[in-house]
C-alpha cells in the first residue's frame, strides 16, 4: 500500500493535480486551438480570431450573468426569452414608433433588468427554486415578446443601429469592446466588491451567510437583476447583428451559457467560480462552433461535440480536484 510519489510531466503527482485543478481549463483550450489549427490553418488567422471573439460576445454576456446565478446555487433559464423580448421591444420602438436608438436601448435593457429583478425577488423572498421560477418567467417573457412584436418579424433598417455590431475601433469591432469591458467589470464585481463576497458566501453556505449578517434577498435579487441586465445587452448586440426583431430568437441560449460556466469551473453546489475560467469556457464553446464550421463538419456533430467536451471537462475537473471529504 506504500505508494511513492509518481511523476507526471516532471511534476509531483500532487503538484500536477493542483496545477490542472487551477489551469486545466486553459490547457484544454490550448490543446483545442492547436488541434484545430493543424486541421485547418485558416483558423489561426487574426481575422478569424477577431471573428470568433465578436461572435462569442453575445454568449459571454449571458454566461457572466449565469455564472452569478449558479454561484448562488441557482440558475437563470429566462435569458433566452429575455433576448427575444429585448429584440422585439427594439424593433417596435425603433422601426414602428420611430424612437431614437439610445432611448429604445435604454428602455429595452430596463425591461430585461426588471424581469431579472422579479426573478431574484421571487427566488429569495419566497424561497422558491430558481429552476422553477425562471422556467416559468421564461414562458411569460417569451409570450410578451410575441405580444410586443405582434408575432411578426420587424426589420430594423436604421444603419446606425446596425453599427452596434459592425462598427470598429481600429481593428477591433464594437462587440469585442463590450466583451472586454464586461469582463473587467465582472472581475471587479466578483473579486473586489462586498457584493462579490456576499455572492460567494451565500452560494457556499447560506445559513452561515445569514448568521454573518448577509442579506439573502438583496444579494440574490441583485444577482438575477445583473443577469437580466446582461441578457439585455446581449439582446441589443444580437438584434444589431441580425437587423431584425423576432420573438423566436434565443432559444437554447441558456445551454451555451451554462456550458461555458461549467467548463470554467463554476460549481453547481454553489460558492465557486472565477471570471477568467468562465471567459475561457466561453471561448471553448466559440471554438467548437468556429473550428467545426471551418473544418466543414455538420452542425449535428457540433452539438454532439459540445456535449462530449463538457462531460469530459467536468470529469477531468472532478478527477483533478478529487476532494477528500
Amino acid at each position: 500500500m506504500a505508494k511513492k510519489e509518481e511523476k507526471v510531466l516532471g511534476m509531483d503527482r500532487e503538484k500536477f493535480r493542483m496545477f490542472m485543478g487551477k489551469y486545466g481549463i486553459g490547457v484544454i483550450l490550448l490543446i483545442m486551438m492547436v488541434f484545430i489549427s493543424i486541421m485547418e490553418p485558416a483558423f489561426r488567422s487574426g481575422s478569424n480570431m477577431v471573428n470568433v471573439a465578436t461572435q462569442v460576445s453575445i454568449n459571454a454576456m449571458i454566461a457572466y450573468g449565469m455564472c452569478l446565478a449558479i454561484t448562488t446555487e441557482g440558475i437563470d433559464l429566462s435569458v433566452g426569452a429575455q433576448l427575444a423580448l429585448v429584440s422585439c421591444i427594439l424593433g417596435q420602438l425603433i422601426s414602428n414608433k420611430g424612437w431614437g436608438i439610445i432611448p429604445a436601448i435604454v428602455v429595452a435593457i430596463l425591461v430585461s433588468t426588471a424581469w431579472g429583478t422579479i426573478n431574484g425577488f421571487l427566488i429569495s423572498k419566497f424561497n422558491m427554486f430558481p429552476f422553477v421560477v425562471t422556467l416559468s418567467t421564461q414562458l411569460i417573457i417569451r409570450g410578451l415578446a410575441q405580444v410586443v412584436s405582434g408575432g411578426q418579424a420587424i426589420p430594423i433598417t436604421d444603419a446606425t443601429f446596425k453599427q452596434i455590431y459592425s462598427a470598429k475601433l481600429g481593428p477591433i469591432p464594437f462587440p469585442i469592446l463590450v466583451l472586454i469591458l464586461a469582463t473587467i467589470l465582472m472581475y471587479l464585481v466578483l473579486h473586489w466588491t462586498k457584493f462579490g463576497r456576499y455572492v460567494f458566501a451565500v452560494g457556499d453556505n447560506m445559513q452561515a451567510a445569514i448568521a454573518s449578517g448577509v442579506s439573502i434577498i438583496k444579494t440574490k435579487t441583485a444577482t438575477y437583476a445583473i443577469s437580466g441586465f446582461l441578457a439585455g445587452v446581449a439582446g441589443v448586440i444580437f438584434t444589431a447583428k441580425t437587423a431584425s426583431a423576432q420573438s423566436n430568437i434565443g432559444v437554447g441560449y441558456e445551454t451555451d451559457a451554462v456550458a461555458a460556466c461549467v467548463l470554467g469551473g463554476t460549481s453547481f453546489a454553489g460558492g465557486v467560480t472565477t471570471v477568467p475560467g468562465v471567459l475561457m469556457g466561453i471561448f471553448i464553446i466559440g471554438f467548437i462552433y468556429n473550428g467545426m464550421n471551418l473544418i466543414g463538419i455538420d452542425s449535428y456533430y457540433q452539438s454532439m461535440t459540445k456535449g462530449a467536451v463538457i462531460i469530459g471537462a467536468v470529469l477531468l475537473d472532478m478527477v483533478m480536484n478529487k476532494k477528500n471529504s
Binding site: K3, A211, G213, V214, N324
Partner: protein, 506 residues
Amino acid sequence: MAEEMKKKEEYVLECHGISKAFGGTQALKDVELLVRAGEVHALLGENGAGKSTLMKCIIGLHQQDEGTIQFEGKPYAVKGPVEALNAGISMIHQELNPEPHLSIAETIFLKREDTRGILLNKKAQNERAEEILRKFDFPHSAKTLMKELTLAQMQMVEIIKAVSCNARLIIMDEPTSSLDSEETEHLFRTIRDLKAKGVAIIYISHRMEEIFQICDHVSVFRDGTYVGERSMEGVTRDELISMMVGRKVENVFPKTDCEIGDVVFKVEGLTGKGFENISFEVRKGEILGISGLVGSGRSETMRGIFGMDPITGGKLYLEGKEIKIKKPSQAIKQGICMVNEDRKNFGLALHRSIRENMALPTLPLKQKAPLLNKKQEEKDCLDMGKLLTLKAASIEHEAFSLSGGNQQKVVLAKWLLANPKVLILDEPTRGVDVGAKSEIHSLMCQFAAKGMAVIMISSELPEVMGMSDRILIYHEGKINGEVKREEILSGDEDQESILRRAFGGK
C-alpha cells in the same frame, strides 16, 4: 520467534512509518500507532498535529503516501469507510456530516440497510433502531429526521451508529466536543461495555480530564510527528502537555479581574421555543458564563437574541435603550455578535478562503469604498490569526483544509474582528487544544478589559467556572440559579452544586 508472535497478537492495529502530505503541507511524517485489543487508546496533540488525518488514512478516506497498516495481525488496505467497516473498523468523525432529510434509523443503517430482496425493509429497520436508541435513552423516535435534532443529538446518533455495527476497532474523533457531562458519562459507560467485550477504541479529545478518566494508553503527536506513547498510569497532566506542545502551559484559566462597569445589555422576560421568561443583564467588562445541560435552552436563548430564531415575548435593552432584533444583520449592526456552536452549518463557508470567512461580517463596517481594501483586510486577518495561534499555510487557503480546531479559531476571529459591544460565545473553545484554549481565554479577558461584555455558554464546567464573573444555570428552559465568582473562589459553590442546579435541584 515465539516472542515475536506474541508481540504481534497483542496489537489489533499497527501503523508504521505513516506519512501524508497535502500539496505543500506535510500533515504526517513517519508516525507510529500501536493499539492493543480491548484498550482505550488516546491520541493527543495540538490542533493540526495530524490526528484526524491519521484516522482518515486508517479508514481509507485518505491514502497515505508512505507506511504500512496492519489490522489484527494481517496487512490491511482499504479504499473507503465501507470497506473499513467490513474489515471491522468504524469511526465517529470530528466534523459531523448528517444528511438532514434522512431519519435517525436511516442514518444509523446507512450503507448497510435492512433488505428483503431488493426492497428496503423499513419496518424491521425502524424497530431495530428503536431498540438501539432505547439502550441509549435517546429522547427521539427512530423516525425523527436528522434536521430536527440539536448538534449534541446528532453527535449522539453518530456515536450510536458507530458502536452499533459490531466493529472490533472504533475510532472516536472528539466525540464529546458538543456533549454535556451527562451525555459524556453515558458515552463512557458505553465505552466500558465495549472494552469488556474486547473492542479496541481510539479516543481523540482535547479534554484532559476525559483522557485520564477513560483511557489506558496515550500516543502523543506534535506537528505531524510521533512524540511517544505512555501508559496512563503514572503519567501526569503536565508531562503530557509538555510532550504535546514542547513547552509548559502555565495557567489554563488565566482569568484576570477587570473593572466591571455599567449594564450594557439587558434581557427581560424573553420567551421562545425552548426557553421561557428569561431575564438577565450583563455589564461592561464582565464575562457571564452560562451553564446547564445541552438542550436546556441555553443556545436557543442566544439564537433568539441574535435574531436567528423568532422570539415570542420579552424585551431587549442595549445601553438602556430598547432594541428590536429580527435577524442577525440587525444584531451585528447594533454591536451584538455571536459565535455559533455549530461551526460547520452556521460558522464557515468551507470552500472559501480563510480571509473571506474572517472578513465577512465586518465588510459593511470596514469596507466603505466601492472596491475592497485588501491590504488592510489582510493585515487584520493576519494579526487576528497570530493572536489566536491559527495554524494555516496561508490565509488564501480554503477553510476546509484546516484542522477542526483551527476552523474554530477562524470562526472566533471573524467575530473578534467585529469588536462588538456584546459578544455571545456558544462553546467558543470546541475542539481547541490546551495551549490555544488558554490563549483564547486570555484573549477573552483582554477584550473584556477593553469594555466588551462577554456571554459564554460552555458545557465544560471547569471552563465556565474558571472564566466567568457570574454564572447563570439553566434547567429546562428557565434560569435555575446564579453563582458569583467570589462564591466559587471561597468554595461556597462548586462543580457539584452547579450540576445539581442544572439537574433542577436547588
